[in-house]
């Protein structure tokens, strides 16, 4: 195991810069998720850590070793690819043992390590099968097994669950997290799915346009997003954002609706943010018209229109509402987020 230090790393393709001087310090044994929309540079950054992309500027260290010019095979990392990248002509056991074979390990040692990894991942019955004879989830586990047998210093995952169906994704998510807890290997995990990021990571790095928007623990990001992008990207359903102006009497939205402000509110706020679960049904709150009701069993999502803008409220209780009903919604003042004109948190 080792720490990973990314220091002012930049990446250019010709004159086009895709990574803009990123700094991230990943502690030994930490599980860090790189998350962001498509094209934000998260996979490029992961590939630079792996050595599959050259670094245009800055330094990457694994442990104390500068690895900028070190080829992938000498970085002591293992990578799980989005499409698994299993060798189709090799059995599960051969796939898992290939790296050890290249290292010149004895057949007995390879067999022992492969069996050990297969036991961890419940792959023992499939060791003699070819990848094409396995299901998507089993192939994913083989890809992880191939990484585990090498006992690398760092695991790199590049959107490993995006080819699986929703149910299997939830299952594999738990398996990867469990694996990390058991092995304790430093892990860098790329995903565009914020739920994956929230549920698995010790820390999340939110990226956009080749820039780090915020680094923090999952709940830190959820509770105190640094800017509008993080506020909308983290959380599902997304945070409600209402444009307007803060004043003495409260926050007046563009549609003329007056929303209550916390006592500590700073003047100059241009956007009022409130998460859906922090809105409650209350006749003393601001008025909104119900548009859609989505009961999910555990909760009810209410889509409502207010002053020309649409809001989502997640209610714990079961409510008897119909489209067109007028309801009162009250924001929890301690959970109100205010953002400046440029998107910064106030």
């Amino acid at each position: 195991m080792a720490s990973v230090s990314i220091d002012n790393v930049a990446k250019f393709y010709g004159n086009h810069q895709v990574i803009h001087g990123i700094d991230i310090d990943i502690a030994d044994g930490e599980f860090v998720t790189l998350v962001g929309p498509s094209g934000c540079g998260k996979s490029t950054l992961l590939r630079m850590i792996a050595g599959l992309e050259e670094i245009s500027d800055g330094d990457i260290r694994i442990g104390d070793r500068l690895v900028n010019d070190v080829p992938p095979k000498e970085r002591d990392i293992a990578m799980v690819f989005q499409n698994y990248a299993l060798y189709p002509h090799m059995t599960v056991a051969q796939n898992m043992g290939f790296a050890l074979k290249l290292k010149g390990e004895s057949r007995a040692a390879i067999d022992a390590r492969v069996k050990e990894a297969a036991a961890i991942l419940a792959l023992e019955p499939y060791l003699d099968r070819l990848p094409k004879q396995l299901s998507g989830g089993q192939r994913q586990r083989v890809a992880m097994g191939r990484a585990i047998v090498r006992s690398p210093q760092v695991f790199l995952f590049d959107e490993p669950l995006s080819n699986l169906d929703a149910k299997l994704r939830v299952q594999m998510r738990a398996e990867i997290k469990d694996l990390h807890q058991r092995l304790g290997t430093t892990t860098v995990y790329v995903t565009h799915d914020q739920i994956e990021a929230m549920t698995m990571a010790d820390r999340i790095v939110v990226m956009k346009g080749g820039v780090v928007e915020q680094i923090g623990r999952p709940l830190e990001l959820y509770d105190r997003p640094n800017n509008l992008f993080v506020a909308t990207f983290i959380g599902s359903p997304a945070m409600n954002l209402l444009k307007g102006k803060a004043g003495d009497g409260g926050f007046v939205t563009e549609g003329g609706v007056v929303l209550p402000l916390p006592a500590t509110a700073t003047a100059g706020a241009a956007t009022y943010g409130i998460r859906p679960e922090h809105l409650t049904l209350d006749e003393t709150g601001f008025r909104a018209e119900v548009v859609v009701i989505e009961p999910t069993g555990a909760e009810t999502q209410v889509l409502a229109r207010c002053g020309g803008q649409t809001l989502v409220a997640v209610l714990r209780e079961r409510v008897d509402l119909n489209p067109g009903d007028s309801i009162g919604l009250k924001p929890e003042l301690s959970a109100v987020h205010l953002f400046a004109e440029d998107g910064r948190r106030l």
Binding site: A50, G51, L52, P71, P72, K73, I77, A78, M79, F81, Q82, N83, Y84, A85, L86, Y87, P88, H89, F98, A99, L102, K103, L130, P131, K132, S135, G136, G137, R139, Q140, R146, R150, N163, L164
Partner: protein
């Protein structure tokens, strides 16, 4: 019977008609392709070379009254004791060597062009494609001079070496390797494989369809070489069977019967070669490399 039942008969009838036309077309095409080969085989079983000529142009060309293998026996000893055995052996040796070396060289070149970090890769690829359009015959005289100056006249090397590297086959391998998932190459490099090991252990086993295609095309091309071996061989030492058959066409007489038998002998190995590799044309399990 309902209207629906009546109307549903029409498409079925037209489908049957379409199938009849399709079957007849396939049969006619097959007849055109197979009949010369069948005629050749029948002629090789006829004892009288004048009869072979007389039968040409009639349906008797496809029939033999008293089949005999005499022609094959005579071919065996035509130009001396078992000379044709030697020619056949020469051809097989040239075929085996050219195809084996060709598979290695062209697949290596295709792999490097597809995945290697080669400076000027796009330019090299363009030059290779441009070379493909140059007919072999147009460079045969300079090639002859080079080979003669190198002291390789009348050798196997002269018949193998110039045809081992081919722009067409390099490009075929390039195309095949380039469409394999990039992650296979990257996974191998993270696993610690050198570029040679990646080619040998990962990409070569996955390229059986390409290997088979190149083997068949290269094998047929090598086996049918005529102009180059006739220029470069002066003795029986390295003379292939394609050139040896020409000895039946003398100035005074033409031994059609033996020429036919020798042609059948020449055809059989390449037919076996084709049958051995053709199943790989259609089979590929690369698809299982990625995704679920």
């Amino acid at each position: 019977m309902s209207d629906l039942a009546l109307s549903s008969r029409k498409p079925a009838a037209s489908l049957n008609g379409y199938r009849v036309v399709q079957s007849i077309s396939v049969f006619v095409i097959a007849l055109v392709v197979v009949s010369p080969l069948f005629m050749l085989f029948i002629a090789s079983l006829k004892d009288d070379r004048f009869q072979i000529l007389a039968d040409m142009g009639s349906f008797r060309a496809f029939w033999v009254d008293n089949p005999t293998f005499n022609n094959f026996r005579e071919v065996g000893n035509f130009a001396g004791e078992l000379a044709f055995g030697r020619y056949l052996g020469n051809s097989l040796f040239i075929l085996g060597s050219t195809v084996s070396l060709g598979l290695v060289i062209n697949s290596m070149a295709g792999f490097i062009l597809a995945w290697g970090s080669l400076p000027g890769r796009a330019l090299i690829l363009s030059v290779i494609i441009a070379l493909y359009v140059i007919p072999q015959e147009s460079i045969i005289m300079p090639l002859l001079i080079i080979v003669s100056r190198a002291g390789l006249s009348d050798t196997f090397t002269a018949q193998i070496l110039p045809f081992v590297a081919s722009p067409l086959y390099t490009f075929l391998f390039y195309q095949f390797f380039a469409q394999l998932p990039k992650e296979l190459y990257e996974a191998a490099s993270i696993d610690g494989a050198s570029i040679f090991r990646t080619w040998w252990s990962i990409f070569v086993p996955l390229s059986l369809p390409a290997l088979a295609t190149v083997s068949i095309l290269m094998g047929i091309e090598t086996w049918n070489q005529y102009l180059w071996p006739i220029l470069i061989t002066q003795t029986d030492y390295a003379r292939p069977i394609s050139v040896a058959i020409a000895t039946f066409f003398g100035q005074d007489s033409i031994y059609w019967d033996r020429a036919m038998a020798a042609s059948v002998m020449m055809m059989i190995p390449i037919l076996v070669f084709y049958l051995a590799f053709q199943r790989w044309f259609i089979s590929s399990f690369v698809g299982s490399a990625v995704k679920g």
